[in-house]
Symmetry: C2
Subunit: 405 residues, 2 copies
């Protein structure tokens, strides 16, 4: 199997790039820290003798040659970007474990029939630029390159400008590498595996994701002199939206989730009724029909609120992905590989979005999960013990060997 210590120390070393004082990582897509993280990856790819290519959306591909030159490659990998208050494992684990697997193949003197490509996709988190999984989405042909490059981020920057600035606007055509299969190793980011004492999740499907930004426009006025009945309070309405979506999720029941992650008031002053509020709503469900129903209920709630309160309410779609079902054979391959090593394994659904769901549009794809301590992710205290990281990497290694022949 892989070397647990080596993998853990690589992850720790990479976590120094964009490290935050609370032990987490801030490596927003296409920031300076993202560039530094990419540079480190490319250096390590070169050390392993991989052939490195960067495409026009900044996806990085390191290819280990196979015995059969013309054969479609097996692809693995994940992403290096993090949310602003992220942990050390989300994304980077899958990339570092893939490198460790390549190193292990070298040590074993193994050359597979198919080439193996280690990929790091651009802007998976979708925090700075929406939608999420953007690099893999462009790779899979689900979003036009130019549209992606023209995306304006929450800081007002243009994605294409930032990509050029950090030196990762590559010249490989997007989608040029057509994989035979794609497998992604990732932390679970949820509570299931830990709660059930299992080492490995064989991810069979992913939730649909609906992201929208809602803007409420009312009228600023004096907090002391304006009677409640005369107010057009954008902030109070935004708060009702947040309460509504939470209650909708509770009413729909699991696995429905709903989150208001961002909320800004304008002017945001203690004694001024807010004139404008902007908030994001993240809705997810495994069932597309339920997700559509949640969206429809929210839309009609917004309409009623606008009418009742004399407000203007508008909504802008930031991301929308239907639920994805992974390749059944590949899921079984993962289950079998885990079982062969004696690891406890179960099939599961991913609550998070992943690059693998975009690759699933162009080739058989599936994912391997390892437990997240306390179910914590998108949190500086995100953690998975080194032994469990190595178990996941072992399953990845075995699956890659089987797929690459």
């Amino acid at each position: 199997g892989v070397a647990a210590d080596r993998l853990a120390s690589r992850i720790a070393e990479h976590a120094e790039i964009g490290a935050t004082p609370d032990g987490g990582v801030c490596r927003l897509a296409l920031s300076d820290a993202d560039r530094d993280g990419r540079d480190r990856l490319v250096a390590w790819m070169h050390e392993l003798g991989l052939v490195v290519q960067v495409d026009r959306i900044g996806n990085i591909f390191g290819t280990r040659a196979g015995r059969e030159p013309g054969a479609a490659p097996v692809m693995t990998g994940s992403h290096l970007d993090t949310v602003a208050t992220g942990g050390r494992y989300d994304g980077v684990y899958g990339v570092m474990a893939a490198l460790e697997a390549m190193r292990r193949l070298d040590e074993l003197g193994l050359v597979t029939r198919r080439p193996i490509v280690v990929a790091a996709f651009s802007n998976e988190e979708g925090v700075r630029y929406q939608p999420d999984m953007m690099g893999s989405l462009v790779h899979a042909g689900g979003l036009a390159l130019q549209t992606a490059l023209d995306t304006v981020g929450i800081d007002g920057s243009r994605l294409g400008d930032e990509l050029a600035r950090i030196g990762y606007a590559g010249d490989l055509a997007v989608g040029a590498i057509r994989p035979h299969a794609f497998v992604e190793l990732h932390i679970e980011q949820g509570p299931v595996l830990e709660a059930e004492g299992l080492a490995i999740g064989a991810v069979a499907d992913l939730q649909g994701i609906s992201w929208q930004e809602i803007t409420v426009e009312g009228q600023s006025n004096h907090a002391g002199t304006t009677p409640m009945r005369l107010r057009r309070d954008a902030g109070a309405a935004a708060a009702e939206v947040a309460v509504f979506v939470r209650e909708l999720a509770l009413r729909f029941g699991e696995p429905q989730v709903a989150t208001v992650g961002r909320l800004r008031l304008n002017p945001d002053l203690i004694n001024v009724i807010p004139a404008r509020a902007t908030l994001t709503v993240d809705l997810r469900h495994t069932d597309e029909a339920r997700l559509q129903q949640a969206e429809a209920e929210l839309a009609s709630f917004l309409e009623g609120l606008a009418a009742e309160r004399g407000l203007t309410v508008s909504s802008r779609r930031l991301a929308r992905f239907e639920p994805v079902v992974f390749d059944e054979r590949l899921v079984r391959t993962i289950e079998a590989a885990a079982a062969a090593r004696g690891y406890g394994v179960r099939r599961m659904t991913s609550g998070a979005g992943h690059d693998a769901q975009m690759l699933a549009r162009v080739c058989p794809a599936a994912m391997i999960f390892v437990p997240s301590a306390g179910g914590l992710s998108h949190n500086p205290r995100e953690h998975t013990p080194a032994e469990q990281l190595a178990q996941g990497a072992n399953v990845l290694l075995d699956v890659l060997r089987r797929l690459a022949g």
Copy 2:
């Protein structure tokens, strides 16, 4: 009477200082714009031959001599600072009208028995530094000078440092000038006078004000993978607080008002459950017992919310003033002066806080209101027609003459 054009043009000229593109004014307390606004006032005071003094909290006093040197002065005035998205009249109108009244007395060749002091108090708005009405509160002995100077603002600045930086840390002892009476002219900032077609409000009392900052601490986690039942979502809880206080105000009925003017999430990212939320709650009522009941209901709601959701909720008092009743004789003097000029007048309550309520602690005090178009204030479109501004200034002139003898 006063010269309506002259008054209007002075207000317009002063509104250029800190002017915003939308026609409003941003002159936050002790900012560069506040300094420029003060400098302009001091120059105009000198033009009128007033003796200018600045006290240790930055209050500016311009004194017009009286016939009887030892007599306690009559004081009038208001403030020059604005909220960040303020209008052209809130505060500055009362100061400019007082200057116009002095000029009119000069033109009439009148020297009153008592001196008349035109005051501009520091940080009335309370937006950058809490509490509001801080300069007049310190003047009235309700807040220790050092505590005021040590106040940390929403931008992290220390009030005393900013006061020194803009050159308005004066050497007059706070509270040194003990007035015989205080009268403040101000725009209503509410809808009452306009709705009733009246020119003048004789303000008989003011609402109590309760300001607090509430901090909710939960746990950030992944928006997609964390089931609703396992969330400790600080943002969702903050939204419930905002909804609760609005519903409380509706339940209590008028004149209860409740406002969440500021609300910040941390980390404020689309797919991260907020770890922390900070919001302000502004509660006001004319009846102290009702105000205390509102505070108590909010406190018990917060306690229940914290327990139910596994959150830590803390509250910090930013300002607390009981309702104030103005001097009955002075209110009658204002009513009589308005009536004598044939202006429609009514007694009323102020929904906003004012420097006069602090001066009421040390001398007879009352206020004169003029209408606010559309009831708008703390809004760039705050407006009062020049004729109505002049009517208010006429009443001020007459009341000052009567008080100063």
